[in-house]
């Protein structure tokens, strides 16, 4: 999990560096600070398990196994991207990794994930689907409709809420009348649990239990992982809505540094081994960026392909 977290952070750092310097430009919704949740989920899931995530999804996508090079190229909307530069950072899909899609509309991924899980249930087998979403999504009708369906039909679905304490610019406590997102589960007859989303081992245990339950036909579980969005809603967000000292306090709980320190203290690895992991991640990311930045944007004509499989009679 440390390797995955390190790779995610290295990629995220590189994106923010490029955006800051003007090396490239795109709208970016950083998941900085949420790496532990993704890494733990990725470690639990099989490749053939399915994931539906959101526009704040770089960490989930890398954790599920989307290859770094084509992912970075897609984020930079190059023709060599995993979606030919047509999706961009918001809309990553990579079926070979089990990443169904990433949705740009808050809450919309939940009904879609329920449908993916329904297909798996109808086919038989033991494939599990994860819907990854933020606390903001729990205010949408889509969330409630989808969780109701999932509970009703006992779908093999894990509802992974990454509660990063802000829905766009509004704090979670100002947007919901319950203390924890996990409390919502009881309304739909499913278990709900809240764990420290900055502790990958805790997330791993919770997600593994939920995945096992889904795999065995027990139905869905809502797993709320509390965390903090360290770089705001979008890259460049001045975060004026935060209380004095809140961000500084959250930074001290940065899961990447914290997990590194824990593993060193527990002698899982030494400083040299940790540094080697980080070095390898930086190299992998740098190779990906060099290749992506050399690649061309898609040809303008590509705007008119993949709109329909059969475009006969369509005014393209």
């Amino acid at each position: 999990m440390f390797e995955r977290m390190t790779l995610i952070r290295a990629c995220d750092d590189r994106i923010r560096r490029g955006l800051s310097s003007g090396e490239f430009a795109f709208t970016y919704w950083p998941a900085t600070g949420q790496e532990a949740i993704a890494a733990a989920m990725g470690a639990v899931l099989r490749t053939d398990d399915q994931l539906v995530t959101t526009y704040r999804g770089l960490h989930d996508q890398l954790a599920k196994g989307v290859p770094v090079g084509p992912l970075v190229a897609e984020v930079l909307t190059r023709g060599t991207g995993v979606n030919a530069g047509k999706g961009g950072s918001m809309h990553i899909a990579h079926p070979p990794s089990g990443l169904v899609l990433s949705t740009g509309i808050v809450g919309s991924g939940l009904p879609i994930a329920a449908g993916v899980a329904l297909a798996a249930q109808l086919r038989g087998g033991d494939q599990v689907t994860v819907a990854s979403f933020g606390d903001g999504a729990t205010g949408t009708g889509s969330f409630h409709e989808a969780v109701n369906l999932a509970g009703l039909w006992k779908l093999p679905l894990v509802l992974l809420c990454q509660n990063n304490r802000y829905a766009e610019m509004t704090p979670t406590f100002a947007a919901q009348p319950v203390a924890h997102v996990a409390e919502r589960a009881s309304a739909y007859g499913i278990p709900g649990t809240t764990v420290d989303g900055n502790d990958p081992d805790a997330v791993h245990r919770a997600v593994a239990a939920a995945v096992d339950r889904a795999r065995e036909g027990g139905g869905p579980t809502l797993v709320e992982c509390t965390t903090f969005r360290l770089w705001g809603h979008y890259f460049g967000d001045p975060m004026r809505y935060m209380a004095e000292g809140e961000l500084e306090s959250a930074r001290t709980a940065d899961p990447v540094g914290r997990y590194r320190a824990t593993l060193l203290a527990e002698h899982v690895f030494d400083e040299a081994a940790a540094a080697a992991v980080e070095e390898q991640a930086h190299e992998e990311v740098e190779v990906a960026f060099v290749a992506a930045l050399e690649a061309a944007f898609p040809d303008g004509g590509e705007a008119f392909t993949d709109v329909y499989l059969d475009p006969t009679g369509v005014p393209l």
Partner: protein, 343 residues
């Protein structure tokens, strides 16, 4: 693009059935032909068999797992259909009344329509959304709207509107087995309409208009429920010596521009009619295409007939005041035929 297919509409072979029965047959045969076909929506299963009994008997035959009742959750019904389609099934979602599609538009517009494109062709959403217009029976302003123009405006969706039982079977089957998302717009006012329906597998390619009635004097373009009124108007006008060619579009996307232009090139006069609101309706698109392609050959400006720009009241007098009718369509045709250029 194809020319009009005059033989596709109501072949002589087959069994006389209502449109309700033809739709049921198409769904039944699709469920039988492909285990990936899944029906999902409110009240579909027996004993109810759907609010209009379109799905009657199907859950008994194919099981409640494949003919699946849902809570009243339009966003989740259509969203789950998107997910199931992404996962390789061919879901047919029912949105009971077309007005309710407003609740599911995010899934249709942002996800179903665009996933193929946004994934660079990696994803496919082979789903169909069946929905029914409940206009014409006094259902009031939130249960009577004809909203297909909303959907025709979205690249990535196909929009199909049958007018006969045979077309209902052939077009619905094509939608179900199409690899892109289709919205199939039924009309409750047509469910009891009878006509010959081909037995066995029957598909009508999407994007082929039909000549519902041939004529030389003026082209009358319509679709869905409006075709019935257009044919009634044409019958009346034949008695007055005006031969109307009725072109039934059958699908708005794909749009059979060749069929429309081919007819208007002969008749040099055109009226476009639909029950949807006239202002910014699909008729404006049809009129625009005719004007762009045939401006110099027209003997009269293209007229558009549609619902007035007002909500649809529940009282029969209010609905009638807003909606087009065979007589208002006939009046428009008379104006068009009576128009003289340069006069």
């Amino acid at each position: 693009m194809s020319a009009a297919d005059a033989t596709g509409t109501a072949g002589s072979a087959g069994t006389v059935r209502t449109m309700r029965e033809a739709l049921n047959l198409a769904l039944d045969e699709a469920l039988g032909a492909d285990p990936a076909v899944l029906l999902i929506g409110e009240d579909l299963a027996d004993p109810g068999g759907g609010i209009s009994q379109v799905t009657k008997g199907l859950s008994t035959r194919w099981g409640n797992h494949r003919v699946r009742d849902t809570p009243i959750s339009e966003a989740a019904i259509v969203g789950a259909a998107v997910g199931a389609a992404l996962a390789g099934l061919r879901p047919v979602a029912e949105v009971m009344i077309m007005d309710f599609i407003s609740i599911a538009l995010d899934q249709l517009v942002n996800h179903a329509a665009k996933s193929r494109f946004m994934s660079g062709g990696t994803l496919s959403v082979p789903m169909t959304v069946r929905t029914a217009v409940f206009g014409g029976i006094g259902s009031g302003a939130t249960h009577s709207q004809t909203l297909e123009a909303w959907l025709a405006h979205i690249p990535g969706l196909k929009v199909v509107v049958p007018s006969t039982p045979a077309d209902a079977k052939g077009l619905l089957t094509s939608c179900i087995f199409d690899d892109d998302p289709c919205v199939f717009v039924e009309n409750v006012a047509l469910y009891g309409t009878k006509g010959p329906v081909p037995d066995g597998e029957y598909r009508i390619p999407l994007g082929r208009a039909a000549i519902a009635r041939p004529g030389d004097d003026v082209t009358l373009v319509a679709y869905g429920r409006t075709v019935r009124d257009a044919l009634a108007a044409a019958e009346t006008l034949a008695g007055e010596g005006i031969e109307v060619e009725v072109v039934d579009l059958r699908s708005l996307v794909p749009f059979d521009a060749d069929a429309v232009l081919g007819s208007v090139a002969r008749t040099r006069r055109a009226v476009v009619a639909h029950h949807a609101t006239r202002f910014a309706g699909f008729g404006a698109e049809v009129a625009g295409v005719i004007n762009e392609e045939l401006f110099g050959e027209l003997d009269a400006p293209v007229q558009r007939i549609g619902a007035a720009f007002a909500p649809i009241g529940s009282a029969p007098t209010l609905e009638a005041a807003v909606m087009p009718s065979a007589s208002s369509i006939a009046a428009a045709v008379r104006r068009t035929v009576g128009h003289t250029t340069g006069g």
